[in-house]
Structure formats: C-alpha cells, structure tokens
Amino acid sequence: MHRIAHALAALPDNPALSARTAINGVAAICDPLGGLYLPDLDILVVSDLHLEKGSAFARRGMLLPPYDTLATLRILDAVICRHHPKMVISLGDNFHDRVGSALMPELFRQMIETMARGREWIWINGNHDPDGTVSLPGSSADELHYAGLVFRHEPAKDAPAGEIAGHLHPAATVTRREKRVRRACFATDGRRLIMPAFGVTTGGLDLRHKAMHGLFDRQSLVAHMLGRDRIYSVKFANLLG
C-alpha cells in the first residue's frame, strides 16, 4: 500500500531518494516508484505492468477488485510527471492476458492517452501479451536496440552487455537483528539490469531463485530495493537467500 499511497501523494517537485547506477556505461536512476530513468537518453523504462489483472481473474470466476489498473496507472502517472521523459518503454507483460488491452474500460484508455501525449511510447511484447496492444498510443515491438542498450521482456541467456529486461519480478531480502524484510528490486551487475514488476498486484521472485542463475556476475550484483520513499541499495553478498 505504501507505494500506492506514496504515488498518490507524490508531487512533481517532491524529490525522491533514488539510486544512481549505469548499464553498459549508460547512466540510470532507479526511482522508488519502480521506474528506471535514463537521463542521457531521456527515456523512462517500466516493466510488467500487468494491467487488467483483476478483470483477467474475473473472467475466470474470481472477482478480484477492478481497481488494480487504476492504481498502477496512477503510480505510472506520478513517475512520468517526475521525469518528463521524451520516451516511455514498457518492457512487456503490459497486460495480464491477451485480451486485456482490447477489453480495457475507456476510462483507463484515456488515462494512458493523456500520459502518452507529447512523448514516444514503446510497448515491448511479453509472454502474457505476445500479440501487442490494441487501440493504444505508441507502437509495439518484440525488442528494441538503442544507444548500446537492448530492451526486451525476457532476459536472454547469452546477451551481450547492455540488456534491460523484466519478466522475472526480482525481489531481495535483508536481515537485521534477526528480522527479515523482503522488497521488489532493480537487479544489476553493470552489464545488464532486470526491472522490478511495476503492477500493484504483482508478486516477486527472490534473486537467489534458480531462474536467476547465470544472469549476473554475483560479485558486482547490487539489489536496489524499493522502500516507502527511497531506494535501498544492497550488495548481493549481503542479501539473504
């Protein structure tokens, strides 16, 4: 809830405590609302929005609250207002299922149109929504190569340096005084970065999970964890499995 509450309270002139990093030499700022801003390229990256997850479940008989899309879009709006990027890249699983973007209520569609006004918008296709989006601003693509970086949904096993991906919903855990705290995180070793899931009803997968094996150089891997109003950066060696 703190992320929703904070996004609703976040004013454009309210500085957030972010973490600065670089991927393949390109500067990047990890925002605690869950977006990655690339200042030199003026690009904002978000990933795994999982819009219309509630109604995807409703279609299968579980009537989850229909407010997840609204909540996610409000946070997205807050992070866009903070950075005013010239381009937004959404790294796939933009919708929770294939029909999500076609069946999305008009209200939400208008919110996205307002956000996209005056900037470029790229929808990268994910495994949940491989067919692209319907009647939304921007264009769809399977992946995007730009300025020495490659943007795709699923991290590739032998990708050269400069990959920014999503899909895995990374989360990390720290222990202090025998208490454990687990949060979603940006995970990067300087060569590649995996984005935290942005959608408000998305869960996380621990950085030590076997699905993460082989993706990072663990010596230089850092988890930039999402806190209430700041990022907490912790080296992989100091995390708990």
Binding site: M1, S18, L64, H83
Partner: protein
C-alpha cells in the same frame, strides 16, 4: 430446572422397546436418568441441549431417540418410494464421525436393530458418496463441511425431506467459530427442507447454556425460541494440584524447563500421563527436554496438528494399546478419539481459561465416577497466580467459554452462493431463512443485499464485472448460478478452515558427493512464513528432532539431521490462546488481596511482597502504571491483565497518542498480564505535569479516530483479510500439496487488500475484516470494556528503577516481530551499513 417437573416428564425405562431393555439387562446396566429424560422430551417434540461431563453416556443419549424411532419404524420394505435420511449426526472432527460409527454399530448389532448407519467425510470415496445419494442410510455421520456440500446440491430437497433428528456433537467447540456460523445456516436450511426437524445438541459445560439453546432452535422476531436443557452434574471432583518445586520459577518465558525433572518424576509414578501444552513450539521443547533426561528410556511420544498424519495415527494406536507412558500434546482437538486409559493430566503452562482446563482434565478419565487427577505446571511467576485462579474456578465450577458471537459476513457470502448452487433462490425467502439462525438473527436486509451483490459481481462501486457475474437474477426475480463451473468452484472451496500455506517437511541425507538425496521420510507440515525466516544451515525443533534446514524444493522443505543441542526453536504460534476475561479478573483479585498470597509458593509470595515495598500492589479495580528510567530510555509499564491481543492493540494506540504528544515512543511489548512502552522522553515527568494526563491518554475516545486511523495502515489486518477473502470466495484457497508449480502464488491477498483499501475502503469484505479483527485478533471489544472500567481508577507510580512486577514484561523486549513502519527502518539500517549510494532526484523543469 425444576426437579419435580422434570421427574414427572421422565420416562421409566419400561417404556423402552424390548431389544433395548434386553440389551441393558444383558449388560447388567441401567439406562441413566438423563438418557431417558432426553428421549421422553424429544419424543414430546422438543429440541434439546444435553450438557454432561465426559463419560456420562452422552453419545448414547443423543442417539437414543433416533434408535427408538427407527426400531419402531422398522426396515423400509424393498420397492418402497425413495426414503431420505432419518438422522444426521454432525461432529467437528472427521475422526470422531468415524469413531462414533464404530461405537454405535456395536450396541446396534448386539440389539439386532434394523438401522443402517454410514459415515461421510472428505475421505469417503466418490462411489460411496454417489451410492449414499441414491440409497441413503438411516443415520448419516458427517462433518459441517459435508453438510454444506450436501445442501448445495440439486438433490438436497429429496435427500433431506424425511430428516427427523439432527444430533450435534461437541456443540460448545463448534458454535464459537466460523464453522459454527456456517453450520447454523445449514441448520436453518435443513429446517426448511424438513419442517418438523428436531435438533439435539451435546455439549460440555459452558458459561451460558441459553446461547446454545437458542442456536438449536429457529429464531423469529418477538419470539423467545430455545431448545430444552438437561444438565448432568456430578462426576467425581477432579484432584488438581499446582506443581510445588524446589527449583527457581522463572520470571518470564513459556518453556517450563525448570520443572522438567519434576514432570519426569511424576510420569514415572503413573502408568499413563497426558501432557498438555498451549503451543506447538512448547510441545516440541518439552518433548525434547524430557528425552534429554529420560535415563529410564520411558516410552514418551509427541502429538500435534502439524505432524504427519501417519505419525499421529501411530502414536494414537500405541496409546490405545497402553504402550506409552506419556504423550505431549497441544489440544484435545488435535487428538484422535480412541486412546486408552489415562491416569493423569499434566498441564504445562497456564491454561488461559477455566473451562479449557476443565475440558482438558476431563481427558484424564473416561469413567465418570472416578476422579480425574491433574498437575498444573506454571511456566513463570504470573502463571503461578493464573494457575491458582484456574484451580479455584474449577473448584467452584466457574465457566468462561466465549459467547457464540455475531455471524460472520464472509461465511454468509459462501452460504448464499451455496444456496444458489442448490436451486434458484428468492431473496426475501432466503433472508427470512437466514435470520432464523441465531448468529444471524440481527442481520439487516441492507447488509444481506450487499452480500448478494458481492456474490454476484464482487460488490464494487465500479460496476465493471456485470458480464462476469457469478449469479444472475432471472425474469421471475430468482437468483441462479451463471454456469455450472461456478458450482464446481464452490464445491472445491467450501468450508471455513483457512490454512496458512504449509510446506511438507522431508528428511533427506547428503550423498557421498555432498548433494541432497531424494525420497526420505515425511515428518509433517510447517508454515511457509516460518520457513521464509530460515537460511540453509539454520536448525529448528520439529517432530521431536533437531533438524537442519537444507532448502526448499518445489513444495517441500528439505531437512537433514541437525547435530546440535541448541536449535533455533520454531516461533510459529499455532494455538496460542489469550487469557480469558474471567481468569484475568481472578488474577487481579488475587494480587489485590494479601490474605490470598498465603496459598502461593514462597518465591511468588516474596516477589509480591517486594513489589509492595518498592512500588505497590494495585487494587482489583485499579489500573497501575509505573514509569521508570533504564539505560538511556524511559519506560512505562501498564498492568491491565487483559491478555496479549488486547494489550497489543492498546500498545499500538498508546504509541500513536504518545507520539502526538511529542513524547517520541520507540516501541512496546505485550504479555498476557502487562504492557511496556518505551521512549526517549521522560514519560513519568510528562504525566506528572499532565502533558498529557493519564486520564486523557487512556480516554475511551482512543477507540474512535485513533483506532480507525491505525486500522487503515495496519499490516495486522492483512492476515484477517486473507481468511475473509478465501471464505467469501474472492480468492481460492491454496490446497497444500496440490500446487502445480511449487510456491508461485496466483494472486497475493496482501496486494489485493492494498488495492481495495486505497480505492474502496467501505467494501463489504473490508467491513467483514474489521468485524473479525475487532473481536478476534485485536480484541477491541475487550479493550473498550477495560477502558470504561478503569476510568477514574488510574494510579501512576513514578519510580527511579524497574519494579519487581515489571521484570517479566521487560524480559520480553526484543522478542517481538516487526512490521509496517519498522520494516522500512530496518531496511534503511541495513542499506546504510552494508552499502549505499543514495541520491535525491530533483525533477527536471521542462
């Protein structure tokens, strides 16, 4: 009850049918007076509640009306029209239903009665269930969940049309839970299907029998309907004592490790001893300590709900064959039924409630005319007083079972969907039926409509799910299910027992190359959240063994033999009861009355007299608050005696208020007896100068705005919400062991809660969550009663150092879990210490 009146109504045994009389005579027995009275009053048309101690022939009494009626009816001739079941027996335990079948078949067989008895539980094979529907037995023995399933079926009307009696066993333990709420709604439906239905409730002694009497009978506005009551008193008075020891009784803690030597000696003196403890971790600890000193190699076993079923059955079998000298167990309900003679009960830790103690001691002996023997082993000094209070209560027969309570809304939602699955329903007729169940007698039409709306489309203000509705209104105004899949989904998720996600624990060995082998013995189940606190290599106590945590593979927790004697003990809180209001009051009385200190052990008496010299002993209706500095902090200790849950809520609310008063509270810790709050400012000085005054600080308005504000951000409500969401059918229960791909949760209840809270705070499910929390987890009602009781009776005692009475709660500091704000605090500490380049991003001006 009026004696003459009841004697006039009692049948003589001569009016029993011949086979019964012959059977009693052959056995050399006499039917008991209460058995005959129950039979006669049920035959006279009453529904009845029978309250009797263990061993009083309660079960036979409950079935006697059915058996007599079925004997008089005789076998249904072949070729007759379909006949539905005659009697429904409902017990809270599968094992009990199975056991009763065995125990009932014996006399029925010996008398040669023309009665067909079968049981139906979750374990009954599908073929047998199907056959039961086509050709029902006369008596069906089953559980509340199975009743809900049978009633949600299209053939329910036919199946139950001939139902004459419903027998409800262990009613006292059923009615106070959500299972009881669901069953009360089921009973209302049964009455509609079989209008002449009579209910027979069997119960242990309770505080307010009228609660149960009303529960058994249909409620209508303006009428005072209730079942008749038969109370069997007597039975030999139990012999209970409190363990006297030469050892030092600890200030705090729950392990009772100091008394292990004494307990072991007591076990050695008896043939069979049953050791009750309050939590599973306590059971593990006591079991391990006993084996450490078990030089005589006495057969001592462990039994609690998390252990593997096969292991539990093995222990129960050994027990019934009298092969064991002692069993360490958590609660009577965890135990199977048929388990031999027990000579003595040892209760480790305070019993927390007078009725609970009586029911547990009742386990010591199934013969009513022999006294039960029990020893209470207090784990700390406050528990010495609590044990004494429970013992006194047992002596005078005081009862403190909880009231039935208001029917839960999530249960109602489940029932409404179930009724739509059975047949299209008319909303007004269903409302009338539901309000005839006593827990739902006060349900308003408006709330009922909101529940129907919730079942249909989720009940959201944003009406976007009309096209996905689960139930729809027909042209005739009836609600029906939208498609057969909805009914199937309902059947998979019926019931009110929500398990926290559990993982199987499996013992594995490392092979020569050091990697973990496959297979190995299953030991039981452990909550996922507990395992998430462990790192590979950590050791913990489970199943009586010290285990080394190796890791999690799919839905299994792999462990190996842990070669250490000092494990990290499981902190899971399975079965932790709060102190009952009655016992709390008794402990306050005892504390206030120096004359009663004489009966307490020397150590405790000295402790109290030291408290009197250095601070004071509060009077019964007085709230004592001590303040003192210690280290670099200032403490206040509040002796409220209202149980841990109510104290936790009070702690949350007080810290909010102190924070607002600028007193910078840092934390609090609660025990069953007192609450300690600490901070950086001198709390004593602040109260003396009335900034704020204690009267203001403890004002009842605390339960208004502060409570609301706190609830809105409390992580405590999330678990309650998850339970409500599962029961109400919003999210599906994860069935342990049936997950397809390991531990990926399809949807997280916590995240749903956050979204719903921030966008529709008045949603009916959030209301259900708050209702639950205010009586259960947060004990807000109890706290409210306390705040009004202590008004004008607050005594502040500023001290220069810690008082004797404060020591126990001060020792608990640092053992509490953290959540909410404190989590971010810990994160910051970790990040700042371990790494960290943090920059402020100032937005661009474009």
């Amino acid at each position: 009850m009026n004696q003459i009146d009841s004697a006039a109504r009692v049948k003589t045994s001569l009016s029993l049918p011949q086979p019964f009389l012959r059977w009693f005579a052959d056995k050399g027995w006499q039917p008991r007076a209460h058995q005959l009275e129950l039979l006669s009053r049920v035959e006279g048309g009453e529904s009845m509640l029978l309250i009797a101690p263990t061993g009083a022939g309660k079960t036979l009494a409950g079935f006697l009306p059915s058996l007599v009626s079925l004997t008089e009816r005789g076998k249904i001739p072949p070729g007759s029209a379909f006949t539905g079941i005659h009697t429904l027996y409902i017990s809270p335990l599968k094992a009990l239903a199975v056991d009763i079948e065995r125990n009932l078949m014996k006399p029925v067989g010996e008398m040669g009665l023309p009665v067909h008895i079968e049981n139906r539980t979750g374990d009954t094979p599908a073929a047998k269930r199907q056959r039961q529907k086509l050709s029902p037995p006369d008596i069906l023995l089953t559980t509340p969940e199975q009743v809900a399933l049978l009633l949600a079926n299209g053939e329910a009307e036919r199946f139950f049309k001939d139902l004459k009696y419903v027998v409800l066993d262990e009613l006292h333990s059923l009615v106070t839970s959500k299972r009881g709420h669901l069953l009360s709604l089921g009973l209302a439906r049964l009455r509609k299907l079989a209008p002449g239905l009579q209910a027979i409730g069997l119960s242990a002694t309770v505080a307010d029998p009228m609660d149960l009497q009303r529960w058994l009978s249909p409620q209508r506005a303006g009428e005072n309907n209730h079942a008749g009551l038969i109370t069997v008193t007597g039975g030999a008075r139990p012999q209970i004592s409190i363990l006297r020891t030469e050892e030092h009784v600890p200030w705090a803690g729950h392990s009772a490790a100091y008394a292990i030597g004494d307990i072991y000696r007591a076990i050695g003196e008896q043939n069979t001893t049953l050791l009750f403890v309050n939590t599973r971790s306590q059971a593990e600890r006591v079991f391990q300590e006993l084996w450490t000193i078990n030089d005589d190699n006495l057969p001592i076993a462990l039994h609690h709900g998390s252990l593997d079923v096969a292991q539990r059955r093995k222990v129960e079998a050994a027990m019934s064959e009298n092969k064991l000298r002692a069993v360490v167990a958590t609660s009577t309900l965890d135990l199977g039924i048929d388990w031999g003679d027990v000579d003595m009960v040892i209760h480790v830790g305070a019993p927390k409630g007078a009725s609970r103690l009586a029911q547990r001691i009742g386990r010591a002996n199934h013969r009513m005319d022999e006294p039960s023997r029990a020893i209470l082993v207090p784990a700390n000094r406050f528990e010495v007083m609590e044990c004494q209070a429970a013992l006194d209560a047992n002596y005078i027969g005081a009862q403190d079972t909880p009231p039935v309570g208001k029917g839960a809304l999530d249960v109602l939602a489940q029932h409404v969907l179930g009724m739509a699955c059975a047949a299209p329903f008319d909303p007004l007729a269903l409302y009338t039926e539901i309000t005839s169940a006593s827990p739902y007698a006060d349900l308003t039409w408006e709330t009922f409509e909101r529940i129907v709306d919730f079942v249909a489309t989720g009940g959201y203000a944003l009406r976007s799910y009309e096209r996905y509705a689960k139930i729809r209104k027909t042209k005739e105004g009836l609600w029906r299910v939208s498609n057969p899949l909805i009914a199937q989904q309902y059947r998979l998720n019926v019931g009110t027992i929500v398990e926290s996600p559990m993982l199987n624990v499996r013992m594995v060995k490392r092979n020569a190359r050091g990697s973990l082998g496959r297979g190995g013995m299953p030991l039981g189940k452990v909550e996922e959240y507990f395992l998430e606190m462990l790192s590979p290599g950590d050791t913990f106590l489970f199943s009586g063994k010290v285990l080394r945590f190796e890791g999690i593979r799919e839905n299994e927790c792999l462990v190996s033999q842990g070669y250490t004697l000092d494990p990290k003990v499981p902190s899971y809180a399975g079965g932790k009861f709060p102190l009952s209001t009655y016992l709390a009051q008794q402990v306050r009385k005892m504390l206030a009355d120096p004359a009663r200190h004489a009966s307490l052990p020397d150590q405790v008496r000295d402790w109290l007299s030291l408290q009197k010299d250095l601070s004071m002993l509060p009077k019964e209706d007085e709230l004592l608050i001590e303040t003192f500095p210690r280290g670099s902090r200032h403490y206040m200790v509040i002796y409220a005696f209202e149980g841990r849950l109510a104290h936790q809520t009070l702690g949350m609310l007080l810290t909010r208020r102190l924070d607002r008063a600028g007193l910078k509270p840092l934390g609090f810790v609660a025990t069953d007896y007192s609450l300690a709050v600490w901070g950086l400012e001198d709390l004593g000085a602040a109260f003396r100068s009335k900034r704020p005054s204690l009267a203001h600080l403890f004002d009842e308005d605390m339960l208004g705005d502060d409570l609301e504000a706190w609830l809105n951000e409390s992580f405590l409500l999330k678990r309650t919400f998850r339970n409500c969401a599962v029961i109400a059918g919003l999210i599906d229960q994860r069935h342990p062991g049936k997950e397809k791909s390991g531990r990926q949760v399809t949807v997280s209840a916590d995240l749903i809660y956050d979204v719903l809270r921030s966008h529709e705070p008045d949603h009916i499910l959030l209301e259900a969550t708050r209702n639950d929390a205010s009586t259960g987890l947060l004990e807000i009602e109890r706290l409210g009663d306390m705040l009004s009781r202590i008004k004008g009776h607050i005594t502040h005692r500023p001290l220069t150092q810690i008082s004797p009475l404060a020591v126990p709660v001060m020792l608990e500091i640092g053992k509490e879990a953290v959540g909410g704000d404190a989590q971010d605090f810990l994160l910051a500490e970790a990040a700042d210490e371990l790494f960290g380049e943090v920059v402020a991003t100032v937005p661009r001006v474009s």
